[in-house]
């Protein structure tokens, strides 16, 4: 089992979610996050003064998948979240030791 964490542009969430639902991904967790990478921040203007805002809003999607689904999911997120412009985000894949469904007590693959 792997955890996929994808940081994407906020307006790409719907497309990514639709695509993931289409390949039978049954759940995900979404957080509004702030951060920067090579894109750095952006500039905002208030009363003529320019402010460099370092941390800009992004969406973080977290989902747990079986090992055999990882490549497909990652490719799908890349395809849907991509604009080609700087700031499209990153995807991290991490190992997961255990998954438990709270309601039933099922574990691992059954609980995903």
């Amino acid at each position: 089992m792997k955890k996929i964490e994808a940081i994407i542009k906020t307006f790409k969430l719907d497309e990514v979610k639709e695509a993931l639902t289409g390949i039978d991904i049954k759940g995900m967790t979404v957080t509004e996050v702030k951060g920067y990478g090579r894109q750095k921040g952006h500039t905002e203007v208030y009363r003529g003064a320019e402010y460099v805002v370092d941390f800009i809003p992004k969406i973080k999607i977290e989902l747990i998948v079986n090992d055999d689904q990882v490549d497909q999911v990652v490719q799908l997120i890349v395809k849907e979240a991509r604009t080609g412009k700087i700031g499209d985000g990153k995807i991290f894949v991490l190992p997961v030791e255990q998954v438990v469904r709270v309601r039933t007590g099922e574990v691992d693959t059954e609980a995903i």
Binding site: E44, V45, Y46, R47, G48, A49, Y51
Partner: protein, 407 residues
């Protein structure tokens, strides 16, 4: 002889001016960070209480009571003694003096509230409240008497101020400048971004201020007459022209028009027309508004270069606007518009009025600067104006008021 229309109009105008104080609270609160929202609102709102109390007991008497040497009113109207429903011989002879008193009260309330934008997000409540009370007694009341009080020396020599360019906006602007110099910048000034936390709130405040300004300027005619109409129209036109000018300038210089720019331009135009509103015609009002947008835009931008943390631009917008309008009165005033007024430079009146206006500026700004300095320094030495480093980081809402705006 009491006139029912005049009385009704000034009562309504008093209500409009009162609304400007909570309007200002929202205008300011939208521009601070989310942990200082209630602290900022409270600094404006509490003036309704502090200054109204001061006003009915001593402030009204000091400002408008029987004159002592042109400098101050005496205290014979303490606690409104003798201030009744009968009209005053000296002020607004067609409305009950009580109506005049409560109308003027609202001006006294909003003036110290305006100052608070300069030191937003960093002062303790108790010393601040004491400052506002002392400032009302030692700055607002005397200056109000000099210009509007019967026998006041600046008014007598010919300085004109229709609705408070000097009495309200210049005094609050200069006091704001002094406060910034004494209190110093917010922690992290120049490094941390002090982003406005809720500009829609500021837009709501702008709307309420503009609405209230019709009472502020229109009501200053003290009668429901042609002068009120002149002031009402001039107020609206200057507000819209200020908004247009600031928005266009910003668009040209920075590539995008902004809502905060539009609101700032409107307030600049409204503040600038205030001293001149009842003395100038509609075309002059548009020009005054355009000049206001231009001058205040550059004044606000100068602040960044001077490294002054006038947090919400009280000096650049209210101070500079009030002074600009006070001078422009000497240029654009016209007896053809208001027979009770004067002819300024362009109406063939020569430089006389401009000179009086300049004199008024020097005297009012000089006095306000020195007196505000003494009050603020004194309180700072005695009680300490500034919150602790920890409180400033945590925000005034919790540390000064034990509540938070957003839960």
């Amino acid at each position: 002889m009491i006139n029912a229309a005049d009385t009704a109009f000034i009562l309504a105008a008093a209500g409009l001016v009162l609304l400007m104080t909570p309007g200002l609270a929202l205008f300011y609160a939208g521009m601070v960070r989310s942990e200082n929202v209630l602290g900022t609102i409270m600094q404006s709102l509490i003036m309704i209480s502090i200054i109204s109390i001061e006003w009915v007991y001593i402030g009204y008497s000091l400002s408008f009571g029987p004159d002592i040497g042109g400098v101050i009113g005496d205290l014979s109207w303490f606690a409104l003694r003798g201030v009744t429903t009968a009209p005053s011989a000296d002020y607004a002879s067609t409305i009950p003096q009580l109506v005049f008193m409560i109308y003027q009260c609202m001006f006294a309330v909003i003036t110290p509230a305006l100052i608070t934008g300069a030191f937003a997000e960093r002062v303790r409540f108790a010393p601040f409240a004491l400052f506002s009370l002392l400032w009302a007694i030692l700055v607002y009341n005397p200056v109000c008497h000099w210009i509007w009080g019967s026998g006041g020396w600046l008014g007598k020599i010919g300085v004109l101020d229709f609705a408070g360019g000097l009495v309200v906006h210049a005094t609050c602007g200069v006091a704001a400048l002094v406060a910034v110099m004494i209190i110093g910048p917010r922690r992290g000034h120049g490094k941390v971004n002090f982003l406005p936390h809720n500009l829609p709130m500021t837009m709501l405040g702008t709307g309420l201020l503009w609405f209230g300004w019709f009472g502020f300027n229109g009501g200053s005619a003290l009668a429901a007459d042609g002068v009120a109409a002149t002031a009402f129209v001039a107020t609206h036109l200057a507000g819209m022209a200020g908004m247009a000018m600031w928005t266009v300038l910003e668009w040209l210089k920075l590539g995008k028009p902004t809502t905060l720019g539009a609101a700032s331009g409107a307030i600049s135009g409204l503040a600038t027309i205030t001293p001149a509103a009842g003395f100038v015609g509609p075309n002059a009002a548009v020009i005054i508004g355009l000049i206001a947008g231009l001058v205040c835009y550059y004044a606000v931008n100068l602040k960044a270069r001077l490294q002054f943390d006038d947090s919400l631009d009280v000096v650049g917008i209210h101070g500079v606007g009030g002074l600009t309008g006070t001078l422009l009165l000497g240029v654009f005033a016209s007896r053809a518009v208001n027979p009770g007024g004067v002819d300024g430079l362009l109406a063939g009146g020569g430089l006389d009025q401009l000179f009086y206006q300049g004199l008024g500026i020097v005297v009012v700004c000089g006095y306000t600067f020195v007196m505000s300095w003494l009050i603020l320094k004194g309180i700072d030495r005695w009680l300490g104006l500034r919150v602790s480093v920890e409180a400033e980081t945590q925000g005034l809402d919790y540390t000064e008021h034990s509540e938070t705006a957003y839960n």
